[in-house]
Amino acid sequence: MSDNGTRPPTEVDLAAAYEESGVRDILRELEDTMIGLGPVKQRIRESAALLLVDQARRQMGLATDTPTLHMSFTGNPGTGKTTVALKMASLLHRLGYVRKGHLVTVTRDDLVGQYIGHTAPKTKEILKKAMGGVLFIDEAYYLYRPENERDYGQEAIEILLQVMENNRDDLVVILAGYGDRMDRFFESNPGFRSRIAHHIEFPDYSDDELLRISEGMLADQNYAFDDEARQTMVEYIAARRTQSHFANARSIRNALDRARLRQANRLFSEAAGPVDATALSTIREADIRASRVFRGGLDTDRPVRRDAAE
């Protein structure tokens, strides 16, 4: 029953710990698979270093408490917050700060109930699912509705705060959303502010980064732009950014989905004989140019059927 008590080491090899923990693999994967996000990557490298040192200090008996690991990810939609949260979960798992390393993604509706006595079990159910891993609460500020005194969101907030404090060994909570709204949320809920140690801001992607992202997305599905189409995409990105509901990489994904629909339609109407593989996998200028973004932009991010037929 007793633990195998071994003496604390007198020195540690940080480089070896870095290798053995597999942290290096995750950081490299982050670097290789995610375009842009320079400041985010920098913050994650710093956090990893901090946690490795903390781990070493605990092995030597220099520290005992679990560090506060709860985080906030702020930034506009489509800037990679969920994807980075997944990587963060496995990073924390490799470093031994969470036991399982899974990610549970929720919004207000998953936590807050409809009637009295509904919220606490709902919130606890989600927290229990996330234990051993990371709980990602998207648009966390919706939990707080000061305009309604009887809003059940307050109950969820209280339970969350309690568990974030008492069960620091068991789960890490990431609160995510738009930067300005998160700021206001933290101002009204100092409990969260004090329990969150790592704030990571996700900047918008540059036009060039979005172009590379679009090429990567197409390549993943075995499509490619021809030269004219690529140039058109550059114009598209510049135009789209100025219009409403712009959501970075998510807007790009939606634009490409519609372009593929138009391509398919074009192939049907043009086809006079056999179609080769190149034709089947090439996005041409017309497939992008037809977008309403070029006509003043009433495009929504929903792929509308009418839109596809244009």
């Binding site: 029953m1 036991r99 927290l127 699912k129 234990m131 068991d170």
Partner: protein, 139 residues
């Protein structure tokens, strides 16, 4: 008297960390873990009160320890046990059962003998605790 039901009643009481290890073993085997409590520990009292449903979807045993501590807040003066259910064909029953909380004083059981003809004795075993009505036991 110390109630000896469950897998580990001859060992010192388990710590929360030890409970976590055992519950994790159940979860890793694909078994659903449940928390139950009672104030009548009779060996044939099969149905202890359920503290919520069995946990089917919790990958980490911290969830079990969390619920045990919630249960202790309300029923800390009673017996609390952890049960693991295996739903696989050919078993479909309990795989693990161990006590995680006990009352401070465990009065135990008395044997009641009803003597019959031919030296036959009909036995009844009764928890001393049930002489008090529910809600007032182990007060």
């Amino acid at each position: 008297m110390r109630l000896r039901q469950g897998q580990f009643s001859f060992l010192p009481d388990l710590t929360d960390a030890q409970i976590h290890d055992q519950a994790q073993y159940a979860i890793d085997n694909g078994w659903a873990v449940s928390v139950e409590y009672t104030d009548d520990p009779h060996p044939r009292n099969t149905y202890w009160e359920m503290w919520g449903h069995p946990m089917f979807d919790n990958p980490d045993a911290a969830a079990v320890v969390f619920e045990i501590n919630e249960c202790r807040k309300e029923h800390g003066g009673k017996y609390i046990r952890v049960i693991a259910f295996d739903s696989s064909a050919g078993w479909e029953s309990i795989r693990m059962s161990f006590i995680v909380n006990r009352p401070k004083d465990e009065p135990g059981f008395r044997v009641v003998r009803q003597e019959g003809e031919g030296r036959i004795i009909r036995y009844t075993v009764e928890s001393y605790a049930v002489r008090e009505p529910e809600g007032r036991r182990y007060a």
